[in-house]
Subunit: 208 residues, 2 copies
Amino acid sequence: MRKQKVSSAVIRRLPRYYRHLNELHLSGTVRISSSALGKSMGLTASQIRQDLSCFGEFGQQGYGYNVEKLRGEISDILGMNSGHTAVVLGAGNLGRALIENFHFELSGFHLAAAFDVAPGIVGTVMSGVPIYHIDTLEGYLAGHPTSVGVLTVPRRVAAETAARLVAGGVRGLWNFTNIELDLRGSDVVVENVHFADSLLALSYMISE
Amino acid sequence: MRKQKVSSAVIRRLPRYYRHLNELHLSGTVRISSSALGKSMGLTASQIRQDLSCFGEFGQQGYGYNVEKLRGEISDILGMNSGHTAVVLGAGNLGRALIENFHFELSGFHLAAAFDVAPGIVGTVMSGVPIYHIDTLEGYLAGHPTSVGVLTVPRRVAAETAARLVAGGVRGLWNFTNIELDLRGSDVVVENVHFADSLLALSYMISE
């Protein structure tokens, strides 16, 4: 069903489509027109039709979209029903915030384990997630094929930890370290979370 | 110098321009052509010229851009030299991660204080930032005009805390709570950090 190369702008909008459709579904909305969906997302109706046309035929002339069906189709496109797994590297403040408060399962991920070096943390269980010593990472990955490594380690060990995850066969890195990872020669995808970019956009908007 | 309405796509790219120019400057690069800058950012030269033309005339035909000068101009446009201040609401895992590890000053912000309710935290100083009781927020804001409130409180108190910040005169909210804040009737800008959108984009990319 998926067609050719999809632009990164469309990829960035897909999670927002999912989020809005999920909210509509939870609020009991059964169907919605592309113009109404667009209005709630700050997009035009034609933009929405064009975005979705990258993936096939959705909606019906004169009816609009069935909210639950489109939500399901977008969750499939996003890979939310693919049984993805994740491990967190570094159970410090940020790692702990993600383990305890971020709902990986709502994005289709099972958070299976976390790794750290601190004696007080290794061997404990945090919100149901076992914390192992980083020295056991290779053995763990060999026995538990893992989709994504969540990098919340200190900057000085970011590159080394990323390399170990790549060698262990993960397909993606969710990188919170603010280090640009150089993974040339691998097929591993890196998604960077740049807090500073977000704060600077806010800085711009309050300075206008 | 700033012209009319700038699209949100351009606003989103500005921090990336700043980040790339800063790295170029730190690595000793004095000047760069729009095509070389574009290549390092995955944009075309004409896209870059078009983006920057929203804000005035930069660069010189045949010379390109002076890296340090353009970096300085973009930092001005982003409001990085406006003396912005911030306070963190909620010094739990995520709040603490931001207080201890995020360099607000590199984005032009002074992180002046944080607020929480936990007896073990209130009254302490975390990485130089004093932690006050949330009950003192109104008094603090009255005496210390604050640009941005960083919302890392639990979801159930997110809306109430946002309303108190707005009443206290902040100009922007950096919202990590994953709650859609309804600030109709105020001029306060909300910048949402949606971790799930980022993870879902990664999910898509590893599912291709």
